[in-house]
Symmetry: C2
Subunit: 376 residues, 2 copies
């Protein structure tokens, strides 16, 4: 029996992106599939990609972050129903994490929401078909909205030199874009949104590329202009995202966890009095007290193996949680990991036994981002 990485069978059901030909020319080593679309996961190697991301600047094909567009007279009403965050004061040009829950407060998706017009919102989604959830609600309540997936394919520029590279291509004005704001910028005369956001702690931008053909040209322009900044192809990096404490929906957090258990309390406007689906359940959970919560852990010993199943966390002979993502941090010189643990044990410094596929180790609850893991 082999646990080596298998091939992914080419299939048109696994959608290409406008950048796929470039990504392949750049030597992509592996993909995953996200929202029925290809997402690169490795170029030069996990650790090489990690160091490069922290030091210079990378171009990421994150077209799989699909947009669920909600447009029409009832768009504001529906968008607010869909997220437990209070977004009533979001002006056009604002974006933010906006957890989507069901009536039990269980997480359906943890998207970034963009208000793109007075009557138009984009939920830039993680890996689940939010369009079906939104559509089922809208049609059943008779809301006056159109829900669609526009031909918008995000391209991220991440890393400490992201400002410099973006300024070369879009002009110096990109430097002025504030965190979690987006503005229309021009490339070859064509307007598209550029946001200061992205799935790393290194800083950077997400470009909401709204023209398939132009996507490839933009990728090439960034590559050419970035030569002096040691630009390279990249992608969300397992080491960097665990160090930063970024939980992945579908891995660390699933439909079986509430937004509070997922550690998203700061994005849940529990007392805002919105009509958000799931808000009441989350308030009840807060008032009763959480029983578990997402946490970071360091894991003792040598490099842990690649993880296939959750690893149980044991205290006093009882399972109190599990580790769901783990990797060796070559910079912190220890294994870093994310998981979920019973609320009695969330204090940093708490020790548990973790049963990895390479035997038992000591897991120690850590703050996230992991100390020493902040930007540069």
């Amino acid at each position: 029996m082999s646990f080596a990485e298998p091939l992914i069978a080419r299939s048109r059901r696994l959608r290409n992106t406008p950048f796929t030909t470039r990504v392949e020319a750049s030597g992509v080593q592996a993909y995953t599939v996200y929202n029925h679309m290809l997402l690169p996961t490795r170029f030069r190697g996990l650790e090489e990609d990690y160091w490069h991301l922290r030091k210079s600047v990378q171009i990421w094909d994150v077209a799989c972050e699909r947009q669920v567009q909600i447009k029409g007279p009832d768009a504001a009403k529906l968008a607010q129903m869909l997220t437990v965050r209070d977004i009533r004061k979001y002006d056009v040009g604002r974006c933010g994490y906006a957890p989507v829950c069901d009536d039990d407060g269980l997480l359906i998706n943890d998207p970034v929401l963009l208000r793109v017009a007075a009557d138009c919102y984009w939920f830039s989604i993680s890996d689940s078909d939010v369009m079906l959830w939104a559509g089922g609600i809208a049609r059943s309540l008779g809301l006056d909205v159109e829900i669609s997936e526009p031909d918008v394919n995000p391209l991220a520029v991440q890393g400490p030199l992201a400002n410099d590279l973006m300024a070369e291509v879009f002009g110096a004005a990109v430097r002025e874009i504030k965190f979690f704001r987006f503005v229309p910028m021009r490339f070859k005369g064509h307007e598209m949104f550029v946001a200061r956001s992205g799935w790393s702690a290194q800083g950077g931008f997400e470009i909401y590329v709204n023209d398939w053909q132009l996507g490839g040209e933009l990728y090439d322009a960034l590559t050419a202009a970035g030569e002096k900044y040691d630009v390279g192809p990249g992608c969300p990096n397992l080491i960097e995202r665990i160090e930063a404490g970024l939980l992945t929906y579908g891995t660390d957090v699933t439909r079986k966890h509430t937004a509070l258990e997922a550690g998203l309390a700061k994005y849940c406007s529990l007392d805002a009095g919105t009509d958000a689906i799931g808000l009441e359940a989350l308030r009840v959970q807060r008032d009763r007290g959480l029983t578990r919560r997402g946490c970071g852990f360091t894991i003792s010993g040598q490099r842990v193996p690649a993880q296939r199943d959750p690893w149980p966390l044991i205290i006093g002979g009882k399972q109190v949680g599990s580790v769901t993502s783990a990797v060796w941090s070559p910079r912190l010189n220890t294994n870093v990991s994310l998981g979920m643990i019973a609320i009695d044990h969330v204090a940093p410094g708490t020790k548990a036994m973790v049963v990895t596929s390479a035997g038992e180790r000591i897991a120690t609850v850590s703050e996230v981002p992991f100390p020493g893991a902040a930007q540069r």
Copy 2:
């Protein structure tokens, strides 16, 4: 630039199945991802797998056919709303293709529906999150149902010797199961549903394995008992499914096609007077007349290359459709393909030019299943 098959990055977000360890021990060559889960796509090679499927019997890990369970006092009402097929007379033990559409008649999923109890239905889904669609509708209409994804992982046994192999493991009674019926059968004393169904034209069964641990043992038992029947691991086969005219949701048919355009008219009970979502739109479309429809095509010349993008179909200098799946049939000695074409050109024998990535060829509209492609 390389179009070789890339690696798929191991990730816990791409869920294993109860059979993954067995599938890997059996030498799986490639996977795809389907409903956030691994689906094997090749073992000994596309053509070897094809010939073997037609001649003996295969075990397929199709756990990715997830069940959306709808249970409760309003289950019958919601299930009927969700599909344009009239399922009001489905008794317990009946299953059938049951297209799920939105209010515009556009296809959301083409699942198999099982009535598993008076107040309980399973939609055994293709690749989209039907649970979110069903959940959004149920909560908004205040229906009294519970919607869940039970721990049920289908294992298919397909091929001309499927009856013989299944009788060895489940007893002779499996031979009596009628097409698109399912009955509870016992394996090691544990009851699970066995249906005569499956995603090939070779006949066989789908076992709705409802115990994760027992799943591996069942796989092993089928493998052991099947030795005399030349059993082997297998999976839905591109050649066989195109020959059989089985369109894939996400490839040949998408959210942009109605159930009628997808060629599913026989599963659409347009005049049944149910409350099905999308029925009215489909009736209007029928009355106005379709403008395009799914079709089979043979393609002239040598073996076509693996397809990355739809191939345009041209008649009289104008694009009239496209080919979305194509493969060489080693048995029919021609390329067979599926696609969509304008309604004026659906008559078998109609010729069009198809612009493949290996140049222009002649596409000829064919009946599906392709003549000569029926079971043995």
